[in-house]
């Protein structure tokens, strides 16, 4: 029997000390209390004032106790459920758990048949969702694009309507406005079997963005209030650029990002105490020659690790970022940037890592980048799973039995563990040269394309209820009527 024995069940990573985290924490509280944010929403200002905030015009300052009280109300652990009840597709958010999924709203898309870059279409949505549904290391769904071939106000709604029937994995839904939010929610509630059933088993997360620096926009609050009122788990994630819309330093960008996200938290918890809240945001550098938000920069991974530690310090899950690249194509740069950020994100235990499949600095979505990153995440997860140390895994008796000059291939011990101890690649090639040559000298890119095509031919996601299909048609028809009126 073991006694007074400590176990590390995985690889550990730690950047900040408690002292540093405390300093970051109080830095963000200081900004909220002394600088304040412009909250461009009358109702939200009223809610905050009632909760104890100081309001002067649009400027809202939060006493630190109010933020700390709000942090205390938000849960660290909760579950996002698969819409079809398949427990394998549930996401349990909590300490030491990293999950991955694509990102939203790229304007361009890598065509699945031709591999050409072209605008994202409504017909791409179901295909992306199907690929997400099939990939074993992709846990939640976003669409990788802004639908360009429907009415320009309805892209988000069509997107959700296309994703929902084609994957049972939890969805992260963004929207343009509260009308989108209502339509999206109507679809999810129909499938869940009512508002109460949805609240017990939420199947999607609502995503909203404040504006950096230090502005809580009217649309973001509209959507936030809708989510909070209907008890929809909420992501409130700013996207500051170091050196542009935030301080140039890595420590300096974490402070306003946290403040911007916590303003959303404070509004949400005032409206709906205990609402599952996922802190943002996406932190990276503004490239000083290309003037873009760099999605493949090492600073992205570093800053994201910093804000993840701060989130965990205050007891919130974090909306992490990884699997993305500034490369325009499926090349070595895309694989290096994507894989390293997936690995680093997993090491931080970032709760929901999004933007897997972004290329061209988030301008172009690619299911091929996504599918290749599925492999990188599988690889990563084998590492983060760590080394289990116990009597059986130590295998001292097996070593004794085999002795010098024997081998372990025939041992029961080997048979018992070889599938669980080793990671088996889906895309990487380990064959010898001749076999590789015989199989057509394929590259990772060839095999990734083949896998995506294979998934689209063979994979059938579970279907939604016929009633929900009717609701989707109704919601879209009503939205079309609204925008044309």
């Amino acid at each position: 029997m073991r006694t007074n024995y400590r176990i590390n069940s995985g690889v550990r990573f730690e950047m900040f000390t408690q002292d540093q985290l405390e300093e970051l924490f109080w830095g963000a509280l200081h900004v909220l209390e002394y600088t304040g944010l412009d909250v461009m929403h009358e109702e939200a200002r009223q809610i905050l004032k009632k909760a104890g905030a100081w309001v002067e015009g649009t400027r809202v300052r939060l006493p630190n106790y109010l933020v700390r009280k709000s942090l205390e109300m938000a849960p660290r652990s909760f579950t996002l459920f698969a819409r079809d009840g398949n427990p394998e597709n549930d996401i349990h958010i909590g300490p030491g758990r990293a999950h991955f999924g694509p990102g939203p709203t790229c304007v361009q898309f890598i065509d699945i048949e031709t591999q050409a870059r072209r605008p994202y279409l409504n017909s791409d949505v179901p295909l992306v969702a199907k690929v997400v549904d099939a990939l074993p290391n992709i846990d939640f769904c976003e669409s990788l694009g802004t639908v360009s071939d429907v009415h320009h106000d309805l892209g988000a709604l069509y997107e959700f309507a296309g994703m929902f029937p084609n994957t049972s994995k939890p969805i992260v839904a963004w929207s343009y406005d509260k009308y989108d939010s209502a339509g999206i929610h109507e679809i999810a509630v129909a499938e869940a079997g009512g508002q109460e059933a949805f609240e017990q088993r939420p199947t999607y997360v609502h995503y909203c963005e404040p504006l950096s620096p230090l502005i809580t926009t009217s649309e973001s609050v509209d959507k936030l209030l809708f989510a909070a009122t209907h008890r929809i788990p909420l992501i409130f994630t700013p996207c500051p650029l170091a050196g542009g819309t935030a301080p140039v330093t890595a420590a300096g960008i974490i402070i306003p990002a946290a403040a911007e996200s916590w303003m959303g938290l404070t509004i949400a918890q005032a409206v709906q105490p205990g609402l599952p809240f996922i802190m943002g945001g996406v932190l990276s550098v503004m490239d000083m020659s290309a003037m873009i938000l760099a999605y493949g920069a090492p600073e992205l991974s570093l800053m994201m690790a910093g804000i993840t530690e701060l989130a965990h310090y205050v007891g919130l899950p974090l909306w992490q970022t990884g699997g993305c690249t500034d490369s325009k194509t499926f090349d070595a740069q895309a694989m290096i940037e994507g894989s390293l950020s997936c690995y680093f994100s997993a090491m931080t235990g970032g709760d929901l890592t999004h933007d897997v499949g972004y290329t061209e600095s988030a301008m172009t979505g690619s299911v091929f980048q996504l599918a290749a990153m599925d492999e990188a995440i599988g690889y990563t997860r084998r590492i983060t799973r760590g080394i289990e140390v116990n009597e059986d895994t130590l295998a001292v008796d097996v070593i004794h039995n085999v002795g010098p000059n024997g081998h372990y291939l025939k041992e029961k011990h080997t048979r018992r563990y070889f599938r669980s101890e080793f990671w088996y690649p889906n895309l990487h090639d380990r064959r010898n040269f001749e076999e590789w040559e015989m199989m057509g000298r394929t590259t990772l890119k060839d095999r990734t394309i083949a896998r995506v095509h294979d998934i689209l031919v063979t994979h059938n996601p579970s279907s939604i209820k016929p009633e929900t299909e009717q609701v989707i048609r109704k919601v879209l028809a009503e939205a079309e009527a609204r925008v044309r009126a």
């Binding site: 000059n405 081998h407 291939l409 025939k410 048979r415 070889f418 010898n432 040269f433 001749e434 076999e435």
Partner: protein, 213 residues
């Protein structure tokens, strides 16, 4: 195929070495000949194992389990096959070449060749050219199989083939080579008749060399 032979080949595929001897005995009791059991159950099972391995559905420890299940069954059949003078697919003498102590791969090829219906004589590891010559004289095999894991020992394959030529024995046998550093080009250079890139490929090659595949 009869139910008992089907059951036996399924047990080989599952790799359950505790069940195969009992089933072999039962098949004998039902009146099947040793050769029928070998060809229609054990070989059938191992052929399927080879296919699954190539497809990536089975892994080496599982192939070994199957090979063991096949061998425990074959243990009962061997004396009967010898007594009846049943014609095997061919005879293979194999070994890991001089200087090399690695025999996992060679053993696996040997078992798969047995699973294909060959009579296999295993010379072990660190086998010098003279030992191969002696074995050829004694056993009169159709095929010699040589294995090496090290880049430093693979040249010993060339030495062995040269020694066989000098002893006037080369023309009477086919030679196949394999092992991690070996490739087709090397096999051609040392004058082998064939090269297998993995264990099932080695067994397939043996069949090809006999004109049976």
């Amino acid at each position: 195929m009869s139910a008992i032979l089907e059951q036996l080949s399924a047990v080989v595929i599952e790799g359950d070495e505790t069940k195969s001897p009992g089933l072999v005995q039962k098949a004998l009791d039902e009146g099947f000949t040793a050769k029928e059991i070998l060809d229609n159950a054990l070989v059938v099972g191992m052929t399927e194992v080879g296919i699954r391995f190539k497809r990536g559905d089975m892994f080496v420890p599982e192939v070994l389990m199957s090979a063991e299940a096949m061998q425990t069954g074959l243990g009962i059949l061997r004396p009967l096959l010898a007594a009846s003078g049943a014609e095997m697919l061919g005879k293979i003498v194999m070994g890991t070449v001089k200087g090399d102590l690695h025999d996992i791969g060679k053993n696996l090829v040997g078992m798969l060749c047995e699973g294909s219906g060959f009579d296999v004589i295993d010379l072990g590891f660190n086998v010098a050219p003279e030992k191969f010559i002696e074995a050829v004289k004694q056993h009169k095999p159709n095929i010699i199989g040589m294995s090496a894991l090290l880049t430093t020992t693979m040249r010993s394959m060339g030495h062995t083939i040269k020694a066989l030529e000098e002893a006037g024995l080369r023309a009477g046998v086919k030679i196949m080579v394999g092992g991690a550093p070996v490739d087709r080009e090397f096999a051609d250079r040392v004058g082998a008749d064939g090269y297998g890139s993995n264990a099932p490929a080695g067994a397939d090659l043996a069949k090809q060399l006999m004109g049976a595949a």
